[in-house]
Amino acid sequence: MAFALEITDLKKTYPGGVEALKGISFAVNEGDFYALLGPNGAGKSSTIGIIGSLVTKSSGKVKIFDIDTDGNNEQAKMMLGVVSQEINFSQFEKVIDIVVTQAGFYGISKSEALPRVESILKRLGLWDKKDVQARTLSGGYKRRLMIAKALVHEPKLLILDEPTAGVDIELRREMWTFLKEINENGTTIILTTHYLEEAEQLCRNIGIIDGGKIVTNTGMKDLLGSLNVQGFVFDLDSPLSEAPEIEGFPLKLEDPLTLVAAVNKDRSINALFEKLSEKGIKVKSMRNEANRLEELFIEMVKK
Protein backbone atom coordinates (compact mmCIF):
# COMPACT_ATOMS: atom_id res chain seq x y z
CA MET A 1 0.00 0.00 0.00
CA ALA A 2 1.21 3.48 -0.86
CA PHE A 3 2.00 5.95 1.87
CA ALA A 4 -0.05 9.11 1.97
CA LEU A 5 2.74 10.73 3.93
CA GLU A 6 6.28 9.60 4.45
CA ILE A 7 8.65 11.57 6.64
CA THR A 8 12.30 10.62 6.88
CA ASP A 9 14.83 12.02 9.35
CA LEU A 10 13.11 15.39 9.53
CA LYS A 11 14.98 18.01 11.50
CA LYS A 12 14.15 21.57 12.37
CA THR A 13 16.26 24.00 14.33
CA TYR A 14 14.83 27.49 14.72
CA PRO A 15 16.99 30.61 14.65
CA GLY A 16 18.21 30.96 18.21
CA GLY A 17 19.07 27.28 18.38
CA VAL A 18 15.79 25.71 19.54
CA GLU A 19 15.83 22.16 18.16
CA ALA A 20 12.13 21.45 17.54
CA LEU A 21 12.58 18.24 15.55
CA LYS A 22 15.52 15.92 16.11
CA GLY A 23 15.24 13.67 13.08
CA ILE A 24 11.74 12.19 13.14
CA SER A 25 10.63 9.46 10.74
CA PHE A 26 7.16 8.01 10.31
CA ALA A 27 4.74 7.07 7.57
CA VAL A 28 0.97 7.24 7.25
CA ASN A 29 -0.84 4.73 5.07
CA GLU A 30 -3.25 5.83 2.37
CA GLY A 31 -6.78 5.89 3.79
CA ASP A 32 -5.58 5.95 7.39
CA PHE A 33 -6.96 8.07 10.21
CA TYR A 34 -3.78 8.87 12.10
CA ALA A 35 -3.33 10.68 15.39
CA LEU A 36 -0.17 12.70 15.98
CA LEU A 37 -0.08 13.43 19.67
CA GLY A 38 2.34 15.14 21.96
CA PRO A 39 2.50 17.68 24.76
CA ASN A 40 2.84 21.40 24.02
CA GLY A 41 6.16 22.19 22.37
CA ALA A 42 6.74 18.56 21.37
CA GLY A 43 7.16 19.38 17.68
CA LYS A 44 3.67 18.61 16.27
CA SER A 45 3.03 22.05 14.81
CA SER A 46 6.57 22.25 13.42
CA THR A 47 6.00 18.93 11.66
CA ILE A 48 2.67 20.07 10.23
CA GLY A 49 4.16 23.45 9.32
CA ILE A 50 6.92 21.76 7.32
CA ILE A 51 4.45 19.47 5.52
CA GLY A 52 2.30 22.49 4.64
CA SER A 53 5.29 24.69 3.58
CA LEU A 54 4.70 27.14 6.42
CA VAL A 55 7.95 26.23 8.13
CA THR A 56 11.30 25.68 6.42
CA LYS A 57 12.88 22.38 7.41
CA SER A 58 16.54 22.14 8.38
CA SER A 59 16.96 18.72 6.75
CA GLY A 60 15.13 15.49 5.96
CA LYS A 61 12.55 14.35 3.44
CA VAL A 62 8.80 14.79 3.20
CA LYS A 63 6.88 12.83 0.60
CA ILE A 64 3.15 13.17 -0.08
CA PHE A 65 1.80 10.20 -2.03
CA ASP A 66 5.38 9.42 -3.02
CA ILE A 67 6.00 12.92 -4.36
CA ASP A 68 8.97 14.63 -2.79
CA THR A 69 7.83 18.07 -1.63
CA ASP A 70 11.29 19.42 -2.48
CA GLY A 71 11.11 18.47 -6.11
CA ASN A 72 7.49 18.81 -7.14
CA ASN A 73 5.89 20.99 -4.58
CA GLU A 74 2.98 22.00 -6.80
CA GLN A 75 1.76 18.43 -7.37
CA ALA A 76 2.25 17.52 -3.73
CA LYS A 77 0.36 20.61 -2.56
CA MET A 78 -2.60 19.80 -4.81
CA MET A 79 -3.09 16.62 -2.76
CA LEU A 80 -2.78 18.29 0.62
CA GLY A 81 -5.33 20.17 2.73
CA VAL A 82 -4.33 21.72 6.06
CA VAL A 83 -6.58 23.01 8.83
CA SER A 84 -4.30 25.17 10.93
CA GLN A 85 -4.57 25.60 14.67
CA GLU A 86 -5.17 29.34 14.45
CA ILE A 87 -7.82 31.14 12.39
CA ASN A 88 -6.10 32.10 9.16
CA PHE A 89 -8.64 33.68 6.85
CA SER A 90 -9.45 37.29 6.11
CA GLN A 91 -12.05 38.15 8.73
CA PHE A 92 -13.58 40.93 6.65
CA GLU A 93 -14.67 38.78 3.72
CA LYS A 94 -17.90 36.87 3.26
CA VAL A 95 -17.88 33.16 4.05
CA ILE A 96 -18.60 32.14 0.46
CA ASP A 97 -15.93 34.47 -0.95
CA ILE A 98 -13.32 33.01 1.39
CA VAL A 99 -13.97 29.46 0.24
CA VAL A 100 -14.30 30.34 -3.47
CA THR A 101 -11.05 32.34 -3.27
CA GLN A 102 -9.31 29.42 -1.62
CA ALA A 103 -10.46 27.19 -4.50
CA GLY A 104 -9.05 29.79 -6.91
CA PHE A 105 -5.64 29.54 -5.23
CA TYR A 106 -5.70 25.88 -6.26
CA GLY A 107 -6.45 26.85 -9.85
CA ILE A 108 -10.17 26.05 -9.65
CA SER A 109 -12.33 28.61 -11.47
CA LYS A 110 -15.30 30.21 -9.71
CA SER A 111 -17.85 28.43 -11.91
CA GLU A 112 -16.23 25.08 -11.20
CA ALA A 113 -15.86 25.81 -7.49
CA LEU A 114 -19.36 27.10 -6.72
CA PRO A 115 -21.26 23.75 -6.74
CA ARG A 116 -18.50 22.19 -4.64
CA VAL A 117 -18.48 25.13 -2.22
CA GLU A 118 -22.26 24.90 -1.85
CA SER A 119 -22.07 21.21 -1.07
CA ILE A 120 -19.29 21.60 1.53
CA LEU A 121 -20.90 24.62 3.21
CA LYS A 122 -24.23 22.78 3.41
CA ARG A 123 -22.56 19.70 4.83
CA LEU A 124 -20.84 21.80 7.49
CA GLY A 125 -23.95 23.80 8.33
CA LEU A 126 -22.50 27.04 6.97
CA TRP A 127 -24.70 27.58 3.92
CA ASP A 128 -27.12 29.86 5.81
CA LYS A 129 -24.19 32.03 6.78
CA LYS A 130 -22.57 32.18 3.36
CA ASP A 131 -23.15 35.92 2.94
CA VAL A 132 -22.05 37.06 6.38
CA GLN A 133 -18.63 38.52 7.15
CA ALA A 134 -16.41 35.86 8.66
CA ARG A 135 -15.54 38.02 11.67
CA THR A 136 -19.16 37.81 12.85
CA LEU A 137 -19.11 34.00 13.05
CA SER A 138 -18.89 32.25 16.40
CA GLY A 139 -15.74 30.28 17.24
CA GLY A 140 -17.35 26.98 16.26
CA TYR A 141 -18.45 28.26 12.86
CA LYS A 142 -14.99 29.72 12.23
CA ARG A 143 -13.57 26.23 12.83
CA ARG A 144 -16.06 24.79 10.33
CA LEU A 145 -15.05 27.43 7.82
CA MET A 146 -11.41 26.42 8.25
CA ILE A 147 -12.35 22.84 7.43
CA ALA A 148 -14.45 23.93 4.42
CA LYS A 149 -11.48 25.89 3.09
CA ALA A 150 -9.13 22.95 3.45
CA LEU A 151 -11.51 20.59 1.66
CA VAL A 152 -12.55 22.75 -1.28
CA HIS A 153 -9.90 21.33 -3.64
CA GLU A 154 -10.75 17.78 -2.53
CA PRO A 155 -7.35 16.85 -1.08
CA LYS A 156 -6.35 13.20 -0.72
CA LEU A 157 -4.52 13.99 2.52
CA LEU A 158 -6.10 16.22 5.14
CA ILE A 159 -4.13 17.42 8.15
CA LEU A 160 -6.02 18.92 11.07
CA ASP A 161 -4.07 20.71 13.78
CA GLU A 162 -6.31 20.69 16.86
CA PRO A 163 -9.51 21.26 14.89
CA THR A 164 -11.82 20.99 17.89
CA ALA A 165 -9.88 23.21 20.30
CA GLY A 166 -12.35 25.45 22.10
CA VAL A 167 -15.36 23.87 20.40
CA ASP A 168 -18.41 22.75 22.41
CA ILE A 169 -19.18 19.06 22.86
CA GLU A 170 -22.10 18.99 20.43
CA LEU A 171 -20.11 20.57 17.62
CA ARG A 172 -17.11 18.37 18.41
CA ARG A 173 -19.28 15.27 17.99
CA GLU A 174 -20.66 16.67 14.72
CA MET A 175 -17.13 17.24 13.48
CA TRP A 176 -16.16 13.70 14.42
CA THR A 177 -19.03 12.33 12.36
CA PHE A 178 -18.05 14.54 9.45
CA LEU A 179 -14.37 13.57 9.62
CA LYS A 180 -15.23 9.87 9.88
CA GLU A 181 -17.41 10.24 6.81
CA ILE A 182 -14.75 11.88 4.65
CA ASN A 183 -12.21 9.33 5.84
CA GLU A 184 -14.56 6.53 4.84
CA ASN A 185 -14.82 8.19 1.43
CA GLY A 186 -11.08 7.76 0.97
CA THR A 187 -9.40 10.87 2.40
CA THR A 188 -6.40 10.13 4.56
CA ILE A 189 -6.58 12.15 7.76
CA ILE A 190 -3.86 13.16 10.18
CA LEU A 191 -5.12 14.69 13.39
CA THR A 192 -3.38 16.42 16.23
CA THR A 193 -5.44 17.00 19.33
CA HIS A 194 -5.22 17.51 23.05
CA TYR A 195 -8.50 15.63 23.53
CA LEU A 196 -7.17 12.11 23.76
CA GLU A 197 -10.68 10.74 23.75
CA GLU A 198 -11.01 12.26 20.28
CA ALA A 199 -7.93 10.41 19.04
CA GLU A 200 -9.16 7.17 20.65
CA GLN A 201 -12.58 7.50 19.02
CA LEU A 202 -11.42 8.45 15.54
CA CYS A 203 -7.93 7.18 14.79
CA ARG A 204 -6.68 3.77 13.73
CA ASN A 205 -2.99 4.54 14.11
CA ILE A 206 -1.10 6.81 16.40
CA GLY A 207 2.25 8.53 16.67
CA ILE A 208 3.37 10.18 19.87
CA ILE A 209 5.99 12.87 19.60
CA ASP A 210 7.87 14.32 22.52
CA GLY A 211 10.91 16.55 22.71
CA GLY A 212 11.25 16.50 18.93
CA LYS A 213 11.37 12.70 18.73
CA ILE A 214 8.78 10.05 17.90
CA VAL A 215 8.36 7.99 21.08
CA THR A 216 5.80 5.59 19.65
CA ASN A 217 4.24 4.87 16.28
CA THR A 218 1.75 2.04 16.28
CA GLY A 219 -1.89 0.95 15.88
CA MET A 220 -4.39 2.41 18.33
CA LYS A 221 -5.63 -1.08 19.31
CA ASP A 222 -2.10 -2.34 19.88
CA LEU A 223 -1.29 0.67 21.98
CA LEU A 224 -4.42 0.38 24.09
CA GLY A 225 -3.82 -3.36 24.31
CA SER A 226 -0.48 -2.65 25.94
CA LEU A 227 -2.27 -1.17 28.94
CA ASN A 228 -1.76 -3.49 31.90
CA VAL A 229 -4.57 -1.99 33.91
CA GLN A 230 -7.99 -0.99 32.66
CA GLY A 231 -10.42 1.25 34.45
CA PHE A 232 -14.10 0.33 34.79
CA VAL A 233 -16.87 2.52 36.12
CA PHE A 234 -19.80 0.82 37.91
CA ASP A 235 -23.13 2.58 38.43
CA LEU A 236 -24.56 1.13 41.64
CA ASP A 237 -28.11 0.23 42.51
CA SER A 238 -27.90 1.57 46.05
CA PRO A 239 -25.50 4.08 47.62
CA LEU A 240 -22.38 3.15 49.53
CA SER A 241 -20.70 5.12 52.29
CA GLU A 242 -17.20 3.86 51.48
CA ALA A 243 -15.43 1.77 48.84
CA PRO A 244 -15.43 -1.94 49.65
CA GLU A 245 -12.10 -3.71 50.05
CA ILE A 246 -11.65 -6.57 47.61
CA GLU A 247 -8.26 -8.23 47.32
CA GLY A 248 -6.58 -7.74 43.92
CA PHE A 249 -9.06 -5.08 42.79
CA PRO A 250 -8.30 -1.55 43.96
CA LEU A 251 -11.63 0.26 44.20
CA LYS A 252 -12.45 3.93 44.55
CA LEU A 253 -15.81 5.48 45.36
CA GLU A 254 -16.29 8.54 43.16
CA ASP A 255 -19.68 9.30 44.66
CA PRO A 256 -22.10 7.11 46.69
CA LEU A 257 -23.49 5.57 43.48
CA THR A 258 -20.30 5.36 41.35
CA LEU A 259 -17.52 2.89 41.95
CA VAL A 260 -14.31 2.89 39.91
CA ALA A 261 -12.21 -0.25 39.61
CA ALA A 262 -8.69 -0.76 38.28
CA VAL A 263 -8.61 -4.24 36.79
CA ASN A 264 -5.29 -5.84 35.96
CA LYS A 265 -5.03 -7.40 32.50
CA ASP A 266 -4.46 -10.92 33.93
CA ARG A 267 -7.52 -10.74 36.16
CA SER A 268 -11.07 -11.62 35.19
CA ILE A 269 -13.77 -9.02 35.54
CA ASN A 270 -16.19 -11.86 36.39
CA ALA A 271 -14.24 -12.44 39.59
CA LEU A 272 -14.81 -8.83 40.55
CA PHE A 273 -18.56 -9.15 39.89
CA GLU A 274 -18.69 -12.26 42.07
CA LYS A 275 -16.92 -10.50 44.92
CA LEU A 276 -19.22 -7.47 44.64
CA SER A 277 -22.27 -9.80 44.71
CA GLU A 278 -20.92 -11.54 47.79
CA LYS A 279 -20.79 -8.14 49.50
CA GLY A 280 -24.38 -7.43 48.45
CA ILE A 281 -23.41 -4.71 46.01
CA LYS A 282 -25.64 -4.62 42.93
CA VAL A 283 -24.28 -3.09 39.72
CA LYS A 284 -26.83 -1.39 37.46
CA SER A 285 -24.49 -0.68 34.56
CA MET A 286 -20.81 -0.63 33.69
CA ARG A 287 -18.59 1.28 31.25
CA ASN A 288 -14.92 1.63 30.35
CA GLU A 289 -13.11 4.51 31.89
CA ALA A 290 -12.56 6.93 28.97
CA ASN A 291 -9.02 7.95 29.85
CA ARG A 292 -7.18 4.81 28.75
CA LEU A 293 -5.16 6.64 26.15
CA GLU A 294 -4.52 9.46 28.55
CA GLU A 295 -2.83 7.09 30.97
CA LEU A 296 -0.57 5.72 28.26
CA PHE A 297 0.16 9.16 26.91
CA ILE A 298 1.24 10.47 30.29
CA GLU A 299 3.32 7.36 30.84
CA MET A 300 5.10 7.76 27.49
CA VAL A 301 5.88 11.44 27.62
CA LYS A 302 7.14 11.04 31.20
CA LYS A 303 9.87 8.62 30.11
Binding site: S53, K77, M78, M79, E86, I87, S90, G104, F105, I108
Partner: protein, 259 residues
Protein backbone atom coordinates in the same frame (compact mmCIF):
# COMPACT_ATOMS: atom_id res chain seq x y z
CA UNK B 1 -9.41 16.22 -6.84
CA UNK B 2 -8.30 18.59 -9.58
CA UNK B 3 -5.13 17.19 -11.11
CA UNK B 4 -3.70 20.14 -13.02
CA UNK B 5 -3.01 23.41 -11.39
CA UNK B 6 -4.07 26.45 -13.44
CA UNK B 7 -1.63 29.30 -12.84
CA UNK B 8 -3.82 31.82 -14.67
CA UNK B 9 -6.85 31.04 -12.48
CA UNK B 10 -4.77 31.37 -9.32
CA UNK B 11 -3.30 34.69 -10.49
CA UNK B 12 -6.73 35.99 -11.49
CA UNK B 13 -8.15 34.96 -8.10
CA UNK B 14 -5.44 36.74 -6.12
CA UNK B 15 -5.61 39.87 -8.28
CA UNK B 16 -9.40 40.10 -8.01
CA UNK B 17 -9.15 39.51 -4.25
CA UNK B 18 -6.72 42.41 -3.99
CA UNK B 19 -8.88 44.71 -6.14
CA UNK B 20 -11.99 43.72 -4.19
CA UNK B 21 -10.14 44.59 -0.97
CA UNK B 22 -9.44 48.22 -1.87
CA UNK B 23 -12.85 48.68 -3.52
CA UNK B 24 -14.58 47.33 -0.38
CA UNK B 25 -12.94 50.08 1.69
CA UNK B 26 -13.36 52.79 -0.97
CA UNK B 27 -14.01 55.44 1.67
CA UNK B 28 -10.48 54.88 2.93
CA UNK B 29 -8.79 54.21 -0.41
CA UNK B 30 -10.48 56.12 -3.25
CA UNK B 31 -12.10 59.16 -1.69
CA UNK B 32 -9.20 60.69 0.32
CA UNK B 33 -6.90 61.26 -2.70
CA UNK B 34 -9.76 62.95 -4.58
CA UNK B 35 -10.47 65.26 -1.63
CA UNK B 36 -6.81 66.05 -0.91
CA UNK B 37 -6.00 66.73 -4.55
CA UNK B 38 -9.07 68.98 -4.90
CA UNK B 39 -7.69 71.04 -2.02
CA UNK B 40 -4.27 71.22 -3.69
CA UNK B 41 -5.91 72.41 -6.91
CA UNK B 42 -8.03 75.00 -5.09
CA UNK B 43 -5.25 76.40 -2.92
CA UNK B 44 -2.11 76.03 -5.03
CA UNK B 45 -3.77 76.03 -8.43
CA UNK B 46 -6.64 78.51 -8.32
CA UNK B 47 -5.74 80.78 -5.37
CA UNK B 48 -1.91 80.93 -5.20
CA UNK B 49 -1.16 79.65 -8.73
CA UNK B 50 -2.04 82.86 -10.62
CA UNK B 51 0.32 84.82 -8.33
CA UNK B 52 3.18 82.39 -9.08
CA UNK B 53 2.71 82.84 -12.82
CA UNK B 54 4.07 80.29 -15.27
CA UNK B 55 6.44 77.37 -14.67
CA UNK B 56 8.48 76.04 -17.62
CA UNK B 57 6.08 77.97 -19.88
CA UNK B 58 2.88 76.47 -18.46
CA UNK B 59 0.20 77.81 -16.13
CA UNK B 60 1.18 76.77 -12.60
CA UNK B 61 -1.93 74.61 -12.15
CA UNK B 62 -1.23 72.92 -15.48
CA UNK B 63 2.40 72.28 -14.44
CA UNK B 64 1.24 70.85 -11.13
CA UNK B 65 -1.25 68.33 -12.54
CA UNK B 66 1.26 65.61 -13.61
CA UNK B 67 3.14 65.99 -10.32
CA UNK B 68 0.01 65.56 -8.25
CA UNK B 69 -1.11 62.56 -10.29
CA UNK B 70 2.30 60.94 -9.74
CA UNK B 71 2.19 61.78 -6.04
CA UNK B 72 -1.13 59.96 -5.78
CA UNK B 73 -0.07 56.99 -7.91
CA UNK B 74 3.17 56.48 -5.96
CA UNK B 75 1.65 56.69 -2.49
CA UNK B 76 -1.40 54.59 -3.35
CA UNK B 77 0.46 51.80 -5.15
CA UNK B 78 2.94 51.61 -2.30
CA UNK B 79 0.34 51.79 0.46
CA UNK B 80 -1.93 49.25 -1.17
CA UNK B 81 0.70 46.53 -1.30
CA UNK B 82 2.39 47.31 1.99
CA UNK B 83 -0.87 47.37 3.94
CA UNK B 84 -2.45 44.43 2.14
CA UNK B 85 0.56 42.11 2.37
CA UNK B 86 1.27 43.08 5.96
CA UNK B 87 -2.40 42.49 6.88
CA UNK B 88 -2.23 39.09 5.26
CA UNK B 89 0.82 38.33 7.41
CA UNK B 90 -0.78 39.80 10.51
CA UNK B 91 -4.05 37.87 10.08
CA UNK B 92 -2.09 34.74 9.17
CA UNK B 93 -4.07 34.38 5.94
CA UNK B 94 -0.63 34.28 4.27
CA UNK B 95 -0.92 30.58 5.19
CA UNK B 96 -3.68 30.23 2.57
CA UNK B 97 -1.18 31.32 -0.07
CA UNK B 98 1.81 29.37 1.22
CA UNK B 99 -0.08 26.09 1.57
CA UNK B 100 -1.56 26.44 -1.93
CA UNK B 101 0.37 25.34 -5.04
CA UNK B 102 0.78 28.93 -6.23
CA UNK B 103 4.38 29.65 -7.22
CA UNK B 104 6.03 32.61 -5.51
CA UNK B 105 6.07 34.68 -8.69
CA UNK B 106 2.27 34.40 -8.90
CA UNK B 107 1.92 35.59 -5.30
CA UNK B 108 4.18 38.57 -6.04
CA UNK B 109 2.45 39.37 -9.33
CA UNK B 110 -1.01 39.16 -7.73
CA UNK B 111 -0.13 41.71 -5.06
CA UNK B 112 1.67 43.96 -7.55
CA UNK B 113 -1.31 43.90 -9.92
CA UNK B 114 -3.53 44.87 -6.99
CA UNK B 115 -1.25 47.83 -6.22
CA UNK B 116 -1.01 48.80 -9.90
CA UNK B 117 -4.81 48.69 -10.27
CA UNK B 118 -5.30 50.99 -7.29
CA UNK B 119 -2.50 53.32 -8.44
CA UNK B 120 -3.92 53.65 -11.95
CA UNK B 121 -7.48 54.05 -10.72
CA UNK B 122 -6.39 56.82 -8.33
CA UNK B 123 -4.34 58.41 -11.13
CA UNK B 124 -7.48 58.51 -13.30
CA UNK B 125 -9.58 59.94 -10.44
CA UNK B 126 -7.04 62.70 -9.77
CA UNK B 127 -6.84 63.47 -13.50
CA UNK B 128 -10.64 63.78 -13.65
CA UNK B 129 -10.57 66.09 -10.61
CA UNK B 130 -7.88 68.20 -12.29
CA UNK B 131 -10.11 68.62 -15.36
CA UNK B 132 -12.68 70.34 -13.13
CA UNK B 133 -10.08 73.00 -12.31
CA UNK B 134 -8.33 73.06 -15.67
CA UNK B 135 -10.73 71.78 -18.36
CA UNK B 136 -8.45 72.68 -21.28
CA UNK B 137 -5.73 70.20 -20.28
CA UNK B 138 -4.51 68.04 -23.16
CA UNK B 139 -2.04 65.18 -22.87
CA UNK B 140 1.03 65.76 -25.04
CA UNK B 141 2.19 62.15 -25.41
CA UNK B 142 -0.49 59.61 -24.34
CA UNK B 143 1.59 56.41 -24.94
CA UNK B 144 4.50 57.75 -22.84
CA UNK B 145 2.06 58.95 -20.17
CA UNK B 146 0.40 55.54 -19.89
CA UNK B 147 3.75 53.73 -19.95
CA UNK B 148 5.18 55.84 -17.11
CA UNK B 149 1.94 55.59 -15.16
CA UNK B 150 2.03 51.79 -15.28
CA UNK B 151 5.78 51.50 -14.66
CA UNK B 152 5.61 53.83 -11.67
CA UNK B 153 2.74 51.88 -10.16
CA UNK B 154 4.70 48.63 -10.66
CA UNK B 155 7.89 50.11 -9.18
CA UNK B 156 6.25 51.38 -6.01
CA UNK B 157 4.10 48.30 -5.58
CA UNK B 158 7.32 46.27 -5.52
CA UNK B 159 8.82 48.67 -2.96
CA UNK B 160 5.68 48.32 -0.83
CA UNK B 161 5.99 44.54 -1.03
CA UNK B 162 9.56 44.59 0.29
CA UNK B 163 8.54 46.93 3.11
CA UNK B 164 5.71 44.54 4.06
CA UNK B 165 8.00 41.50 3.99
CA UNK B 166 10.28 43.08 6.60
CA UNK B 167 7.51 44.75 8.63
CA UNK B 168 6.89 43.34 12.11
CA UNK B 169 4.35 45.91 13.26
CA UNK B 170 1.93 48.47 11.88
CA UNK B 171 4.53 51.14 12.72
CA UNK B 172 6.93 49.50 10.30
CA UNK B 173 4.55 49.95 7.38
CA UNK B 174 4.15 53.69 7.96
CA UNK B 175 7.76 54.68 8.70
CA UNK B 176 9.06 54.48 5.13
CA UNK B 177 6.06 56.18 3.45
CA UNK B 178 6.02 58.97 6.04
CA UNK B 179 9.69 59.67 6.58
CA UNK B 180 11.29 58.67 3.27
CA UNK B 181 8.80 58.38 0.43
CA UNK B 182 6.69 61.49 1.00
CA UNK B 183 9.63 63.93 1.50
CA UNK B 184 11.39 62.55 -1.58
CA UNK B 185 8.24 62.93 -3.69
CA UNK B 186 7.55 66.47 -2.48
CA UNK B 187 11.18 67.41 -3.17
CA UNK B 188 11.12 65.55 -6.49
CA UNK B 189 9.59 68.33 -8.55
CA UNK B 190 5.88 67.82 -7.91
CA UNK B 191 5.32 71.54 -7.26
CA UNK B 192 8.30 73.13 -9.02
CA UNK B 193 10.84 72.75 -11.77
CA UNK B 194 14.36 72.10 -10.47
CA UNK B 195 15.51 74.81 -12.93
CA UNK B 196 14.34 77.42 -10.41
CA UNK B 197 16.66 76.02 -7.72
CA UNK B 198 20.20 77.29 -7.01
CA UNK B 199 22.91 75.09 -8.58
CA UNK B 200 23.77 73.26 -5.36
CA UNK B 201 20.16 72.25 -4.60
CA UNK B 202 19.58 71.38 -8.23
CA UNK B 203 22.56 69.02 -8.14
CA UNK B 204 21.34 67.48 -4.89
CA UNK B 205 17.86 67.07 -6.39
CA UNK B 206 19.35 65.11 -9.29
CA UNK B 207 20.13 62.33 -6.78
CA UNK B 208 16.46 62.03 -5.88
CA UNK B 209 14.97 59.05 -7.77
CA UNK B 210 11.47 60.55 -7.52
CA UNK B 211 12.59 63.43 -9.73
CA UNK B 212 13.01 61.04 -12.68
CA UNK B 213 9.62 59.46 -12.20
CA UNK B 214 7.78 62.78 -11.83
CA UNK B 215 9.61 64.40 -14.74
CA UNK B 216 9.16 61.47 -17.12
CA UNK B 217 5.46 61.56 -16.42
CA UNK B 218 5.45 65.33 -16.91
CA UNK B 219 7.20 64.77 -20.24
CA UNK B 220 4.32 62.48 -21.23
CA UNK B 221 1.60 64.88 -20.12
CA UNK B 222 3.13 68.28 -20.95
CA UNK B 223 6.04 67.47 -23.24
CA UNK B 224 8.66 69.09 -20.95
CA UNK B 225 11.13 67.52 -18.53
CA UNK B 226 14.08 68.56 -16.36
CA UNK B 227 15.86 65.25 -17.02
CA UNK B 228 16.60 62.91 -19.95
CA UNK B 229 13.56 60.72 -20.67
CA UNK B 230 15.62 57.77 -21.92
CA UNK B 231 17.87 57.86 -18.90
CA UNK B 232 14.85 58.09 -16.59
CA UNK B 233 13.05 55.20 -18.32
CA UNK B 234 16.24 53.14 -18.18
CA UNK B 235 16.48 53.79 -14.45
CA UNK B 236 12.83 52.87 -13.87
CA UNK B 237 13.19 49.60 -15.81
CA UNK B 238 16.44 48.78 -13.97
CA UNK B 239 14.85 49.38 -10.58
CA UNK B 240 11.85 47.26 -11.50
CA UNK B 241 14.23 44.45 -12.48
CA UNK B 242 16.28 44.71 -9.30
CA UNK B 243 13.24 44.95 -7.02
CA UNK B 244 11.46 42.03 -8.73
CA UNK B 245 14.57 39.90 -8.24
CA UNK B 246 14.80 40.98 -4.61
CA UNK B 247 11.13 40.24 -3.92
CA UNK B 248 11.39 36.76 -5.43
CA UNK B 249 14.58 36.07 -3.50
CA UNK B 250 12.87 37.07 -0.24
CA UNK B 251 9.80 34.97 -1.03
CA UNK B 252 11.88 31.92 -1.97
CA UNK B 253 13.92 32.32 1.19
CA UNK B 254 10.74 32.76 3.23
CA UNK B 255 11.97 35.97 4.87
CA UNK B 256 9.30 37.37 7.17
CA UNK B 257 6.72 34.79 6.11
CA UNK B 258 8.10 31.33 6.90
CA UNK B 259 9.65 30.27 10.18
Amino acid sequence: MKKNFSVSTALWTLTIKEIRRFLRIWIQTLVPPAVTMSLYFVIFGSLIGPRIGSMDGFDYIQFMIPGLIMLSVITNSYNNVVSSFYSVKFQKSIEELLISPMPNWVILLGFVLGGVSRGILIGCIVFCVSLIFYPDFTVANPPLTILVLVLTAVLFSLMGFINAVFADSFDDISIIPTFILTPLIYLGGVFYSINILPDMWRNISMANPMLYVVNTFRAGMLGVSDVSIYFALGMIFSFIGILTGSCLYLLNKGTGIRQ
